[in-house]
């Protein structure tokens, strides 16, 4: 750390209309170092950094304070000044690589724009630079990839291209706004390594924004913890993890699921079998440049779930884990296999028998925002399955049952009269859980049900689910990509890859002695509990 900081932010404030969002934040970023900005949704972390770098623009937004990039003031700077800085001295990488690249332009067209604008490169020189950049970010066959369109690349490759775009003009500062949140854990690890290697080579400063303390612990030298638009704690990364001073930092650290920390005791060996799946096969017909062909989304998958037990299914995107859930609930057509719930054949059932099965098999989805009808009050949403299956005699019984269910998921009774938009994300997911439990199902399928929640809320929802299971004896099928979360929830875990279960074991055993390389890689890719 020599000389003046690359970015120096002082008393930065952002308000939209009369609502203050960022309330006076100051921090410095030195050359060659990474500053982590961590916080939950609504903490103002992205807005802080994007305002400080002049990229945040919104109707009615006011930014005050100061943010200097090597002496150039960026707060209140003219568009011309900002345009000269963006893409040249400051590069940006955003959260979702799927939407961050222009779908209509080739990778080359998108890579050369920056260098051509800021460096005035000729088309030939720009193309050479684009090739160099693709090689630098580890894209194989860069020549061929230059002519590709974004939809022809995987998520990880797209994010590599985004990084190539960001570093195209050798910036002094890289802003990484949740760059790994939309990626699988193994891809996340690669992206983290790539940014670190680039930083090593170029000496650029990095501001890394994330909701995930694990990632921040891995990448950052210094950390700012944001809550409600204020930096409640700013310290070196080791200090933050080992001796957190602020209560909120401690909450965040405690809420973080850590692999191998809390494991559930195995259930009684004589517990009744609730669900049994044998040789499940699901195929899709897909169109591709080479014509139509069949993809085996799930092949030969077998497992059992017993009363009071959680079976976790973990896997990366495209592993087929959600297809298993869809096959069980009839959302995906099954090509072969047997699914038995208690004694009933799930796949063969029709009419009243199928309705009975539907009643004992509930599902909670990932996104609590789209899973509730915005025009339906909470009471109506929870009561819908009760009414559908004629489980309540009259309005009074219905109200009573809804109140019971709300109490079960630790929501106040007056929430019955509210609409979804009046609830937070965590509260909505509780409503979805109450709705799933309304018909006293034998089995509840959770498909990434805690993935979109903030860590502190996720921790509370997980505790709630465990407590409910211990009280009601419901069997869970818990599907997720985050091994730490799945481990916390599950008695046993099945690891899926390319539509098959590659390994299945009790949670503690899977973590302590994984049998396949794939599982070992998955475990190794998870950010360590403490910074190195």
């Amino acid at each position: 750390m020599t000389g003046r900081p690359v970015l120096s932010v002082r008393d930065l404030r952002v308000s939209i209309g009369s609502r203050p969002i960022v309330r006076g934040i100051s921090f410095d970023v030195d050359a060659g170092e990474t500053v982590g900005v961590v916080g939950e949704s609504g903490s103002g972390k992205s807005m802080t950094v994007l305002s400080a770098t002049g990229l945040f623009r919104a109707a009615g937004a006011q930014v005050t304070g100061s943010s200097a990039l090597l002496g150039t003031e960026l707060v209140g700077a003219s568009r011309r000044t900002l345009r000269a800085v963006h893409g040249d001295r400051v590069g940006f990488v955003f959260q979702d690589p799927a939407t961050s690249l222009n779908p209509l332009l080739t990778i080359e067209q998108q890579l050369v724009e920056g260098p051509r604008t800021h460096r005035g490169l000729t088309p030939r020189a720009a193309r050479r630079r684009a090739l160099e950049l693709l090689e630098a970010v580890g894209i194989r066959e860069p020549e061929r990839r230059l002519a590709a369109y974004p939809h022809q690349l995987s998520g990880g490759q797209k994010q590599r291209v985004m990084i190539a775009i960001a570093i195209a003009c050798d910036p002094t500062l890289l802003v990484a706004d949740e760059p790994t949140t939309a990626l699988d854990v193994t891809t996340q690890a690669q992206i983290i390594d790539l940014v670190a290697a680039t930083q090593e080579r170029t000496g650029m400063a990095v501001v890394w924004i994330s909701h995930d303390l694990g990632v921040i612990g891995q990448v950052a030298d210094r950390v700012s913890v944001l809550q409600h638009g204020e930096a409640v704690e700013q310290a070196g990364v080791h200090e933050v993890f080992d001796a957190p001073r602020h209560e909120y930092t401690r909450t965040l650290l405690a809420a973080r699921p850590v692999l191998g920390r809390d494991q559930r005791r195995p259930i009684a060996p004589d517990a009744d079998r609730v669900l049994s799946v044998a040789d499940l096969d699901v195929r899709f017909r897909v169109a591709s440049p080479g014509g139509r062909h069949t993809v085996r989304a799930v092949s030969g998958v077998s497992f059992e779930v017993r009363r009071g037990e959680t079976l976790g299914i973990v896997g990366e995107s495209g592993s087929g884990k959600s297809t298993v859930a869809n096959a069980l609930t009839g959302l995906a057509r099954v090509n072969a296999g047997r699914v038995t719930l208690r004694d009933a054949d799930v796949l063969a059932a029709t009419g009243a028998r199928a309705r009975g099965i539907r009643r004992s098999l509930a599902m909670v989805f990932q996104d609590p925002f789209s899973a509730l009808d915005p025009r339906m009050r909470v009471e109506a949403a929870i009561a819908e399955p009760l009414v559908e299956h004629r489980l309540v005699a009259d309005g009074a019984a219905r109200t009573r049952r809804v109140r019971e269910l709300l109490e079960l998921v630790a929501l106040p009774a007056e929430f019955a009269a509210r609409y979804p938009h009046e609830l937070s994300g965590g509260q909505r997911q509780r409503v979805c859980i109450a709705r799933a439990l309304a018909c006293e199902p034998e089995l509840v399928i959770f498909d990434e049900s805690t993935a979109s929640l903030d860590v502190s809320i996720q921790a509370r929802v997980i505790e709630l689910l465990i407590e409910l299971q211990e009280r009601l004896g419901t069997a869970y099928l818990f599907i997720g990509h985050d091994l730490a979360v799945v481990e916390r929830m599950s008695h046993r875990i099945a690891v899926m890859r390319n539509g098959e279960i590659v390994e299945s074991a009790p949670s503690a055993e899977l973590y302590r002695s994984p049998r396949t390389d794939y599982t070992r890689r998955l475990i190794a890719a998870i950010p360590p509990e403490r910074p190195a």
Binding site: R83, H86, F94, G114, T117, Y149, P289
Partner: protein, 322 residues
């Protein structure tokens, strides 16, 4: 373009062509059925009140209506493929000739109309979107709402009053083929085309505005801004091309409407187009002409759809390559 990129494009075009052919066949079936579904005897209706049984039989035989229905359809199909759509009940002229006579007028009106609509909608819609919530946006929205709300013939009458009656600049009606006299053609097509162009332009302005607002808030536009690109590049290259896809859809729909559905405007301007022909034929129950006009308008619709689909694939590699 390399071979790998060209082959999927060809396959895409081939599949759209096949689809178009199938739909056209369906249209033929419906059009053929029309004459058998209408209440009453078309021949009797065509002949009026006073005719001899011989005339009746002769016309019935000439129209082929005395043959089995399957045979009738096959010969209708065969005729349609070879360009023979029968003869008009009213004046005995071949339907194909009547249609071809009207086609240039309809194409002139729709072609100029859609150009006017685009000239209005593209800049105004984009401007409104880029100044969303400001005074310019408000003004454009109010004016376009007005254009959407008032009936087209009223705008037509207003234009006639202003440009023909008061200013005396342009003729108020009639059509001159472009090959005969391009200047007169332009003078005469201007007012009716302006009428339908203003209405379609108002509708399209709203679509362009919505499309640009939608695209401008997308992640890749933020990426483009984060590269420090100039405003013109961000708007033209990143926003414009992406907003073009939905704009193309509405342009196709508006153009199709102009080809078959602007009867009132054609009446106001005494414009000898297909819509007007259809209106007159319905009034005189000239079934072969109605059939032919419906078939022609349907074929034009399908042609526009085909062109729009192909343009999609030109703009969007995801359609071209999947």
């Amino acid at each position: 373009m390399t071979m790998t990129a060209r082959t999927p494009t060809l396959r895409f075009v081939a599949s759209r062509l096949l689809y178009t052919a199938v739909v056209l066949l369906g249209v033929l079936v419906v059009v053929f059925a029309l004459i058998h579904l209408v209440p009453g005897d078309p021949v009797r209706i065509a002949l009026g009140t006073r005719y001899s049984p011989e005339t009746y039989q002769a016309l019935r035989h000439a129209s082929g209506l005395d043959r089995p229905i399957a045979a009738q359809f096959l010969s209708y199909l065969g005729g349609a493929v070879t360009g023979d759509l029968g003869v008009s009940f009213r004046n005995g002229q071949p339907v194909t000739l009547i249609l071809l006579d009207r086609l240039p007028a309809t194409l002139s009106l729709a072609g100029v109309g859609v150009v006017i609509a685009l000239v209005i909608a593209l800049p105004l819609g984009t401007l409104a979107a880029l100044r969303e919530g400001r005074a310019v946006d408000g003004a454009i929205r109010v004016v376009s709402q007005f254009g959407v709300s008032v009936p087209d013939f009223w705008i037509g009458m207003l234009l006639i009053t202003l440009f023909s009656a008061v200013l005396g600049l342009l003729p108020s009606s009639g059509y001159v083929p472009i090959v005969e006299d391009p200047v007169q053609w332009l003078r005469r097509v201007t007012l009716p085309a302006l009428t339908i162009g203003l209405v379609a332009g108002s509708i399209m302005t709203r679509y362009v505005r919505a499309a640009v607002i939608d695209v401008a808030s997308s992640g890749y536009v933020r990426t483009a801004e984060s590269k420090g690109l100039g405003r013109a590049v961000v708007v033209g290259r990143h926003i414009g091309r992406n907003a073009l896809v939905p704009v193309l859809t509405i342009t196709g729909i508006q153009l199709a409407t102009m080809l078959g559905g602007v009867i009132v405007v054609e009446v106001v301007f005494a414009w000898p187009g297909l819509g007007r022909l259809m209106y007159d034929s319905v009034a005189s129950r000239d079934y072969p002409v109605i059939q032919g006009a419906v078939l022609m308008i349907a074929a034009l619709f399908l042609a526009i759809n085909l062109i729009v689909d192909i343009l999609y694939s030109v703009i969007d590699p995801r359609i071209r390559l999947s």
